[in-house]
């Protein structure tokens, strides 16, 4: 609805309406950036409606957005700053004031910096939101390079795309006649955002849709072709598709000659990867591999939307670059209907990460580089892999991190190796948890900081392509008035670098960020439904400029040393990695470790996103929990039948690394050799009488189940921790498991 309609409704009902940004895709901060009208009655936030004026959601909203009042008023909200008084993991705390907590954190971090160096502090990154740059700034101001990025989301694709193609090739949904959604879920997480709406629009336009993933989700149900590959085998599929298009000469030779480097070496190299070879690994038939490869190569306006699914395997970098090369040699780069290089707008908000202060010394001190040090910093600055930060506490290699802040992130359920994570948190010198509601890691915290939701504060703003909108306070803070922004502003002042944080003033900081756009926060706030910007004119075939783009490394070297698509990647080869994409098995798989198949005959993987929860959050909201009350194992009817498993039965899923107890959902749309579930389960829902589940064995935390073997579970270049293993599934009799 539009603002006038929202005001009329509010007036009829005796309510007030506040235009603002939805805060449900992430803790305490605007997420997908949907515009909302928030309705308040007698001081209570009661409901929301989608804002027509926002180009992001155009009036629609998802289930999560509508559950916002239940999140704000949840009995799981953190109400006071807490200090640990029991043992780590015990969860015994005393209440302290915000200022006492800030003082204790500041003193500890200063002391640790003196004793162990600034790099002894790491911050585990929450989902990327408008607060992220402030967290990076805080670390640089303190002198630590250890921003703990997950290593399994978005940056993995960005890195490999940039070092192969010079840029992230965006799918051209509007002009395409064929869209391949590859390891991609275009609907969940942002069901009303652009990718989901583009999917629907393409469908209405009669575009041919191909979905490559192990199970049928709603988008696959609406697709024309489903390619049901085994989890973690995307690289093998992509290599075989390259084999087909090269063997059958379905190539753009002019583009290859002018703009690609190393094609001849690829042509020889790819002989070893025919579709018959890939069939044994991926479980996709030779015929289907050939069909899809030909369809893509021979459809002029064809695009690939490569999703997060490829970022969870030791072959992730090779999968992403094989797909990049496929786009390039078939002539689909930066042409209408293909994959586009989108020029960023000239006037964006000011970057405030202090990246100009990053030194080689800081890069050298990374505790567990997300990308090899030769390739740091990347776009988000320097980063260590989230899990490797925690692992350092146990191994002291190359040194032990001593202090960790987890703002809006839950290490035990969000990264792999939950058993090691719990051990690390128990051993860690100093651990700070900051969140809106209870988190899985909280019992291990030395200090817990309760945060206000974005419905309770006046900052920050949402800047998405085409729209800039202020976050407006809907209600007065119910518990803590302090936000995730306040946490880092207050800490900076207390630690003596307040000058780097606008002397503690968030409003000054926001004005500074907005300066290039010629607005202040006050002026932006006066625009009830924000400011819209029209996209620049489309331009194509910008190869000369994109292929010579400078990387964010300190030496300013270009991404592509030859100014061409790096089919043979000399930058990787010189750093000691493979110059051409290869296949590498996951640590446990049917073809890689057949000896495990007797005890563990099925492949397990997990879903990164869901239709009703944000990552590991919001299981405590009744509206959302009722949609999906229990963790469910998607299992093929035949696979279930031979195990005497019926729909809704409790089952034990056991891998070489642990076991979980969840319910079976008989699922016709999944590979019979594969079972899958959603990640992030631990939290109960008080309103529905549902208790928390164990974080380790016997619970429903899938991250416990995977290998974290340093030699096998990672991609050597881009981290991409594995989320495949082998399991056995058995029915739990009488619902009990000893």
């Amino acid at each position: 609805m539009n603002y006038q309609e929202a005001q009329e409704i509010a007036q009829k009902n005796g309510e007030q309406v506040v235009p603002t940004v939805c805060g449900m895709c992430g803790p305490g901060g605007p997420g997908g950036g949907c515009g909302i009208y928030a309705f308040v009655k007698a001081g209570r936030f009661i409901k929301v409606a989608g804002m027509d004026e926002s180009p992001v959601n155009r009036g629609s909203l998802c289930a999560k957005a509508h559950a916002a009042p239940q999140w704000v008023y949840s009995p799981d909200r953190l109400t006071h700053p807490l200090r640990r008084i029991g043992k780590k993991g015990e969860g015994k705390f005393e209440k302290i004031t915000w200022d006492q907590a800030i003082e204790q954190i500041a003193e500890t971090l200063i002391r640790q910096k003196k004793t162990y160096g600034a790099e002894s502090l790491a911050i585990l990154s929450p989902a990327r939101r408008s607060y992220s740059e402030y967290i990076q700034r805080f670390l640089v101001a303190h002198g630590s390079p250890n921003y703990g990025h997950s290593g399994i989301c978005a940056m993995q694709r960005a890195f490999t795309f940039c070092y192969t193609l010079g840029d992230y090739p965006r799918p051209d949904y509007q002009e395409s006649e064929l869209i391949i959604y590859w390891g991609r879920q275009p609907i969940y997480s942002g069901p009303v955002a652009r990718p989901a709406k583009s999917f629907l629009a393409a469908k209405q336009r009669g575009v041919k849709i191909v979905a490559i993933k192990p199970s049928v989700e709603p988008d696959v149900g609406m697709a024309d072709i489903w390619v049901p590959l085994r989890p973690g085998t995307d690289a093998a599929l992509a290599l075989a598709m390259l084999h087909v298009v090269i063997r059958e000469d379905l190539l753009d030779h002019k583009f290859i000659d002018e703009w690609c480097s190393g094609f001849k070496r690829l042509k020889a190299h790819i002989q070893q990867y025919p579709p018959e070879w890939a069939e044994t690994i991926t479980g996709v038939s030779t015929e289907q591999i050939e069909t899809v490869a030909r369809l893509y190569a021979t459809t002029q306006r064809a695009t690939i939307d490569l999703g997060n699914g490829v970022e969870h395997a030791p072959s992730a970098n090779d999968a992403i670059r094989a797909v990049s090369i496929l786009m390039a040699i078939t002539g689909h780069l930066d042409r209408p209907g293909g994959n586009l290089f989108v020029t960023p707008p000239k006037n964006g908000i000011k970057s405030i990460t202090l990246k100009e202060r990053i030194t080689q010394e800081m890069v050298d001190k990374l505790v567990g580089p997300e990308f090899p040090k030769q390739f740091q910093p990347f776009y988000e600055g320097t980063s260590s892999a989230y899990y490797r930060i925690l692992e350092s506490v146990l191994t002291k290699k190359p040194y032990a991190v001593r202090g960790i802040i987890a703002p809006g992130t839950q290490a035990i359920v969000s990264t792999r190796g939950s058993r090691n994570v719990a051990a690390a948190l128990e051993k860690l010198d100093f651990f700070v948890v900051a969140d809106v509601a209870r988190t899985a890691d909280m019992p291990y915290a030395d200090i817990v900081m309760p945060l206000a939701t974005s419905y309770e504060v006046d900052h920050s703003f949402q800047m998405v392509p085409g729209w800039l909108m202020a976050t407006n306070p809907v209600i007065s803070p119910i518990h803590s008035p302090k936000s995730i922004f306040d946490l880092f502003f207050d800490l900076s002042v207390a630690m003596g670098f307040g000058a780097d944080f606008w002397d503690g003033s968030i409003s000054k900081a926001m004005d500074d960020q907005l300066k290039p756009l010629g607005v202040t926060m006050d002026r932006l706030r006066q625009k009830n439904t924000g400011m819209t910007f029209s996209p620049g004119p489309r331009t194509y075939e910008k190869y000369q400029s994109v292929f010579n783009r400078v990387s964010p490394r300190l030496n300013g070297a270009p991404f592509l040393p030859h100014g061409k698509v790096a089919i043979f990647n000399t930058a990787f080869a010189e750093a000691g990695f493979n110059g051409l994409p290869q296949w590498c098995e996951p640590p446990e798989s049917i073809t890689g470790t057949p000896e495990l198949s007797t005890n563990y005959p099925l492949i397990l993987s997990d879903y990164h996103t869901s239709k009703n929860f944000s990552a590991a959050w919001q299981r405590n909201l009744p509206y959302l929990r009722e949609i999906q009350p229990h963790p469910m194992l998607h299992i093929h009817p035949d696979t279930a039948a031979v195990r005497n498993i019926e729909d809704g039965d409790w089952v034990k899923v056991k891998s070489p690394h642990g076991w979980i107890k969840i319910k079976a959902e008989i699922y016709p749309g999944i590979r019979p050799d594969t079972v899958m579930l959603l990640h992030g389960w631990w939290q109960g829902c008080k309103e529905l009488g549902m208790a928390d589940t164990p974080l380790l064995d016997g619970g429903a935390n899938v991250n416990l189940m995977y290998s974290v073997d340093g030699d096998k579970a990672y991609d050597p270049l881009i981290t991409a921790m594995t989320s495949q293993t082998l399991v056995q599934v058995t029915k739990i009799q009488n619902g009990a498991e000893k």
Partner: protein, 167 residues
């Protein structure tokens, strides 16, 4: 008796991505906090077998049937079909909570709160919902739900369509 005006919240499964936005928008706007209290549910339906297994979504709510089976079985005549707009209305003061309507409804629509009184979609006709229509319609990202006025024949065709999707 057949009415001339038959209102409906029309559903098109080809535009539904199963996001459940409509379901929760309805609960939030209508204050349906009790467990299982839903005027609208989004359902996943399977067709075929692997590797040709497909799914589709159905957003199910009261269709305000031309000849409502719920009204026919209600022993206390708590359910009536309104003459002017074809709305199937429940008189909560008469309902005895026998749930005969739930057994009779081909779409599984009637729901019962802790007071055991039948509740269901009333098309938000008496609500201040604005020009965007009922919250379920307003929130839908794909326009899979639209508010429409039909004649009885069109309404029956839509009822058959929904029934077919659920089979």
């Amino acid at each position: 008796m057949r009415m001339n005006n038959e209102y409906v919240i029309w559903f098109n499964h080809e535009k539904c991505t199963q996001c459940h936005g409509c379901e929760v928008a309805c609960r939030s706007w209508r204050g349906l906090e009790g467990q299982g209290l839903l005027f609208r549910s989004v359902i996943n339906v399977w067709r075929g077998n692997y590797p040709d297994a497909k799914n589709h979504s159905v957003s199910v709510s009261c269709l305000h049937c031309v000849e409502p089976a719920c009204a026919a079985v209600c022993p206390v005549e708590a359910i009536i079909k309104r003459e002017n707009d074809g709305v199937v209305e429940v008189d909560e003061s008469l309902c005895i909570g026998c749930k005969a309507c739930l057994d009779a409804c081909p779409y599984g629509v009637p729901c019962f709160g802790s007071d055991d009184v039948m509740k269901k979609c009333d098309l938000c006709l008496d609500q201040a919902v604005g020009e965007s229509g009922p919250p379920c319609v307003a929130t839908c990202p794909g326009d899979a739900l639209t508010f429409r006025k039909l004649n009885p024949k069109e309404k029956e065709a839509h009822m058959s369509y929904i029934f077919g999707l659920l089979e």
